[in-house]
Symmetry: C2
Subunit: 142 residues, 2 copies
């Protein structure tokens, strides 16, 4: 979904499209690297020197609850966020700490609403390993 479309969806009664919210969503739109909260905060701090970390957290929670962004908890004790909400797998390289999107065809959970009587609300298919770049570095260093 485009940025304008998502922004438009926020201008409904009960919610306000503030400059801060606009900025956070726009940042995620432009940076598809699955940034951490810290990264988002530091970048926005340059534009909006008064912005507070609490606002970043509040805004990310707000955007998530409106289904506009996705939370990623792939790395120990650190939150990351993704502009793309369509279900897809994430790969985390424990060497360089990068998160990659990966496409997995034929996931049997893709369309499921329930499993074992539990209601499925969100899929978080995480894969941990060493990414192609780090594998290459290891080869080069031999």
């Amino acid at each position: 979904m485009g940025l304008k479309e998502k922004l438009a969806g926020l201008n409904k009664k009960g919610s306000t499209l503030t400059i801060q919210r606009h900025a956070v969503l726009e940042y995620l739109y432009e940076n598809r690297t699955h940034p951490t909260v810290e990264e988002i905060y530091h970048s926005l701090k340059e534009k909006f020197s008064a912005i507070s970390k609490a606002t970043i957290y509040n805004t990310l929670e707000f955007l998530k609850n409106h289904g506009l962004i996705q939370e990623i908890t792939i790395e120990r004790g650190k939150l990351r966020f993704d502009y793309e909400v369509k279900p897809h797998h994430h790969f985390f390289c424990h060497k360089c700490k990068h998160v990659y999107d990966v496409n997995v065809e034929g996931c049997p959970l893709a369309e499921k609403k329930m499993i074992d009587g539990h209601k499925i609300e969100e899929l978080r298919p995480y894969i941990i390993g060493t990414c192609s770049k780090c594998l290459q570095k290891k080869r080069d260093s031999r």
Copy 2:
């Protein structure tokens, strides 16, 4: 794999099977509820009043590196551990905070070693939602 088998594997040179390590592994063997570090610590504290939290963390790391237990990072900012290391999906209920094992047949990643040039070392297929018990409670309260 049985408890005795795993314990036996620890009595090799370079590593020591201490009382604490034995206790942690045994606790996980007996408690398949995907306990948090805090839960493990509190329970073992009753038996071994001198045991330290650092030991719990060290031991869990140690057991994980020996492939004897599995780390679960399904809940924001909290580690959980699982005696079972065979790949299986986990379901987290955001209402009651319980983690359930679920069996998913036909996962296309099950046997894969690589994806997009990245080396797969661990699968963490997490599902978030509302569990059957919490769904039932909601129904009852209407």
